[in-house]
């Protein structure tokens, strides 16, 4: 009896908030929940959905406690093609139940909190729409039975955090930060897709519960396991804002205080840790990656701790404190203490959400000014500056990635217009006498059509033009002084442009591009 209900329960858990989001969106489209009068309904729908999800999870928790944990539930097929089969499935093991209950619980708290916090805000409905999307995304990340559906949630979380950071869309800083955060996360997403693709090719399965057994049965080489984990690792680092992706998370603070901050503080930032916990059976096979995880975690903790010491506003310092803790969680994973990491995650998420939720009223509760940076740090001016500047991470990525890409884009545009278009270009309009006035002018001798055979554009046009000129020159039996004008011009022209190309090639981005192209060809 209960068994047959499992697929429905599983499906409803992440879908309920999604339906709430759809309901709010439809309501907004048709205009029945707009304005202050619609606030009540909007809030109830969002709250109701997440409460029901939590309730369903508690039922599953109860089942698990009585020894009937549902485990893997396959609801249906999403995509079948050739030998590849991707199920719509859910997984409820110990790790998932703990995480999912935590996620639903905190989501419920935040949703309830936001009802009052956003009262009479212009974007009330929009906020609850995005919030519900986010709740659905987090629940899906945690409960999905296959990596593909975890990725559904992963991206949905990315999109909704983009929308939350850019909540105040009329402010340029907010939208710029939202874009930056999303694009940074997209690097991690590329890693996720890489891992998905490698799993599909090498393992033939993306079911979380099947991956470990397949790896054992097929005796997959360590290198391939390493590459699969490497992809997931990249995704986890980006989502959890570990080095070198840390800078997006402080930009994420642009969202409405504190309801969006809590996601970076308490939920989404833990998604990466969750993914690594999920990878436990595979991670233990590749010690090198565990050591790497350890190092990254340590470095991030150190970085965030130092940078956090010199912050003067509460949200940023909370954020850095969070980063420190998340870094530590990765350290535990790197050391192989997966249970400790999970425990740390749960405790930290609850504690941090309480802190973030109370941060707006914190200023009233605390009378004294913020503590200055500790004395020992002030004694080391260089370290102090570095901490103040957050170790120039933002500038570094600007300098290394954003600027060269922009320059490249600009040059691609120029290349398109100046070279490709001219090379492929068509003959210019044969309209030397296109207007009557020109005809008149030519009759009166004020306007003469150049005495050449015709004007060509593009490489072919140029060749033909030159050919025609040469013929004419021959026909004139070399009477005219042979200036070879066209050729000279071409040589000069080419020389000038070759110089430009040479100059460009000397710049590092083109060197890198050439190296990348070479690697592509070699592979």
């Amino acid at each position: 009896m209960v068994e047959s209900l499992h697929p429905w329960i599983a499906l409803l858990i992440p879908t309920l908030p999604l339906l709430a989001a759809a309901w709010i969106a439809v309501g907004y489209l048709f205009g029945w929940n707009r304005g202050e009068t619609g606030e009540r309904e909007t809030a109830w729908v969002a709250l109701g959905a997440i409460s029901l999800s939590l309730l369903l999870l508690l039922v599953l928790d109860g089942l698990a406690l009585s020894g009937n944990a549902p485990g893997q539930i396959i609801v249906g097929d999403w995509l079948t093609i050739g030998s590849i089969q991707i199920h719509l499935s859910f997984l409820f093991d110990r790790l998932v139940l703990v995480m999912a209950t935590l996620v639903a619980f905190i989501s419920l708290l935040v949703t309830r909190f936001s009802v009052n916090y956003l009262h009479r805000e212009a974007g009330f409905q929009r906020f609850f729409l995005v919030l519900s999307l986010f709740n659905a995304a987090m629940l899906l990340i945690v409960t999905a039975g296959s990596a593909v559906f975890t990725f559904f949630g992963w991206e949905l979380a990315g999109v909704s955090s983009y929308l939350l950071i850019g909540y105040a869309w009329h402010r340029n800083t907010a939208t710029a930060n939202a874009t930056r955060a999303f694009v940074t996360n997209r690097i991690g997403d590329a890693g996720f897709v890489l891992a998905l693709v490698f799993s599909l090719i090498w393992l033939g399965s993306v079911e979380w519960s099947e991956i470990p057994t397949v790896v054992n049965d097929k005796a997959i080489p360590t290198l391939e396991i390493g590459l699969i984990i490497g992809g997931f690792l990249l995704a986890a680092l980006a989502k959890s804002a570990q080095l070198p992706f840390s800078s997006w998370v402080t930009r994420a603070l642009e969202g409405p205080t504190p309801s969006s901050t809590i996601f970076y503080g308490a939920l989404m930032i833990h998604a990466g840790v969750y993914l690594m916990l999920r990878m436990e059976p595979l991670l233990t096979m590749v010690p090198a990656l565990m050591i790497m995880l350890l190092m990254i975690g340590l470095l991030t903790s150190l970085y965030a701790w130092l940078a956090g010491l010199v912050q003067s506003d509460i949200k940023t310092s909370l954020m850095f404190a969070t980063l420190t803790q998340v870094g530590l969680m990765l350290v535990w994973i790197g050391l192989g203490w997966f249970d400790l990491a999970l425990l740390h995650l749960v405790v930290h998420a609850i504690w941090r959400s309480w802190q973030f939720l109370s941060s707006p009223s914190y200023m009233q509760q605390v009378q004294q000014p913020a503590k200055p940076a500790p004395a020992w740090l002030r004694k080391h001016p260089r370290l102090y500056t570095a901490a103040m500047q957050r170790f120039w991470l933002d500038d570094l990525s600007d300098w290394l990635l954003v600027k060269p890409t922009r320059a490249l884009a600009h040059e691609a545009q120029l290349f398109d217009e100046q070279v490709v278009d001219r090379l492929i270009g068509i003959p210019s309009h044969a309209n030397m006498l296109s207007t009557l006035s020109r005809l008149e002018a030519s009759k009166q001798g004020l306007f003469t059509v150049a005495n050449e055979v015709g004007k060509g554009r593009g490489l072919f046009g140029f060749i033909f033009e030159w050919l025609a000129e040469a013929m004419q020159w021959l026909e004139d039996r070399l009477v005219l002084p042979s200036d070879g004008g066209a050729l000279m011009k071409l040589v000069n022209y080419l020389g000038r442009h070759l110089e430009k190309i040479d100059h460009l090639l000397a710049q590092p981005r083109y060197l890198l591009l050439i190296i990348m192209a070479t690697i592509m060809v070699v592979l």
Partner: protein, 493 residues
């Protein structure tokens, strides 16, 4: 190859319906013309849906086949038919033209009768391109498509250089048409002196032609110009800026060139195509990266979409070049997607142009204030074009990337780079055009999407979501052509 006929000549009827509709539209009183056009487009959509329902995806080969001798001395036939590859392009085309007619409802101020008639004529020709199974007939439709397009661009274009753009487009396509015709003729001449122009016949004599390499390159150039492949793409950004957004939606939405490669190059010249697999994949990935990088620095939404389209069609070519069933199905799926997504985005820029008078980001900014719905739909379709899971872009893109990794790891990695670039160029331009403070009066005073426009966008978005969550519906139909593919293309797995 199996050829299944049906009780009625459905495909000819469909074209006839559209041509009659075009004639009636041209003759109708000026105020009724658009209604006639709309009714015709609706009926056409209904007919194509009937064809889809009548299609049996269990059968291999072509269905709804109609065959009449046309020029018997040369063995040229009036031969129509659809298989799993071309079938879904029919409803996609019909839906696209319906949307375009709706989008042009109030946007055409001069010669509106002619405009709607030309649109229907163009639709009939496109249906002909997708259904003809005789290379001469195909070529006829292929070149015929230039006539309505030339007038649609030059007469109702919106840029000052629309005539130049129209001429440029037609000249490009004519230049591409020449090698195409030559290739078809060379393919047709058999060693024993007979001619074969019909597609199933050509399939049966694969590999007997002596000039396969030359034919391959001629077809590649012919179709590559239309696709467009880098570096033959320069007509697209020019056209994007000069043409009418609704017309552009049809050009960008229907990637006919890629269909040509899929239909003719790979099945008719499998060995040559396989030996030049590196070239196809290289051209594809060059388009992907080149388009994405060039899109980063665009300051006009329409040019941005043109380069984005270059990047997306590059991905389709990569999928084709892998010669795996995942790649091919992903490519067809992606082509179908873009009849919805790319044209939806172009239609939205058209709405914007109609309201604000420009799609240049310097004259936009803060559009979200006065047009929240337009802004939301633009973001949604943009996310779909990035292949965010949940939208139909994701399964298609996943399949293509998967197959790319199987064929060339380097190409696969490059598609991942394009994934990041895709988010960067779209969101950056989106931010500057739609978000931020609104300070232009034209933007502040503009009205949001009206019911008609809203209905179109809701329809597109729903379809995008449905096929994102249930891609199997599409893939099953495409897969029915798989049995043909297995014979004709040496697939991997």
């Amino acid at each position: 190859m199996d050829m299944h006929t049906s009780n009625l000549p459905w495909l000819s009827l469909l074209m006839l319906l559209l041509l009659t509709g075009a004639g009636l539209t041209a003759l109708a009183p000026a105020r009724k013309a658009r209604w006639v056009a709309l009714l015709t487009a609706l009926t056409a959509l209904a007919v194509t849906l009937l064809i889809v329902i009548g299609f049996d995806s269990e059968l291999s080969g072509f269905q709804f086949v109609e065959s009449k001798p046309w020029i018997p001395t040369l063995n040229i036939h009036y031969l129509l038919g659809v298989d799993g590859i071309s079938l879904l392009f029919l409803p996609a085309t019909s839906l696209l033209f319906l949307l375009v007619i709706l989008a042009s409802w109030n946007a055409i101020h001069s010669l509106s009768k002619l405009y709607f008639a030309l649109l229907l004529l163009f639709q009939a020709v496109v249906i002909g391109i997708f259904t003809s199974l005789d290379t001469v007939l195909f070529f006829l439709f292929w070149e015929l498509s230039l006539v309505p397009l030339y007038f649609l661009i030059t007469l109702w274009g919106q840029g000052p250089n629309r005539r130049y753009a129209g001429t440029k487009y037609v000249l490009f396509m004519m230049t591409g048409g020449l090698p195409l015709l030559l290739a078809f003729v060379i393919l047709a001449i058999q060693p024993d002196g007979s001619y074969i122009f019909n597609y199933p016949g050509l399939i049966s004599v694969i590999g007997e032609n002596r000039y396969q390499t030359a034919v391959f390159f001629m077809l590649l150039i012919g179709f590559g110009v239309k696709t467009p492949l880098v570096p033959m793409h320069t007509w697209l950004p020019v056209l994007a800026l000069e043409g009418h957004p609704a017309t552009l939606a049809t050009i960008v939405g229907l990637k006919l060139g890629a269909y040509g490669i899929l239909r003719f190059v790979l099945p008719l010249l499998p060995e040559t195509a396989l030996s030049y697999q590196w070239l196809l994949a290289g051209l594809g990935i060059a388009g992907v990266i080149y388009g994405a990088v060039a899109a980063l620095s665009q300051t006009n939404l329409r040019r941005l979409l043109a380069y984005a389209s270059l990047s997306h069609v590059g991905l389709v070519v990569v999928g084709l070049a892998t010669f795996t069933s995942q790649g091919l199905q992903g490519a067809v799926f992606q082509l179908l997607n873009f009849t919805l997504i790319a044209s939806g985005l172009f239609l939205l820029t058209g709405f914007l142009q109609q309201r604000v008078g420009s799609t240049d980001i310097v004259s936009l900014g803060g559009v979200a204030k006065s047009m929240p719905l337009l802004t939301s739909f633009f973001l949604f379709l943009g996310l779909a074009s990035m292949g965010i899971p949940g939208t139909s872009g994701f399964p298609a893109e996943l399949l293509i990337i998967l197959s790319a990794f199987k064929a060339y790891i380097g190409v696969g990695l490059a598609t991942l780079v394009a994934m990041v670039l895709g988010a960067a160029y779209f969101l950056n331009t989106y931010r500057r055009a739609f978000l931020g403070p609104a300070d232009r009066e034209a933007v502040i005073d503009a009205v949001d999407l009206k019911n008609r426009e809203l209905l179109m966008m809701v329809l597109i978005s729903l379809l995008v979501l449905v096929f994102g969550f249930y891609p199997q519906a599409i893939l099953d139909i495409i897969a029915s052509a798989e049995s043909n593919w297995r014979i004709i293309v040496p697939t991997g797995m």
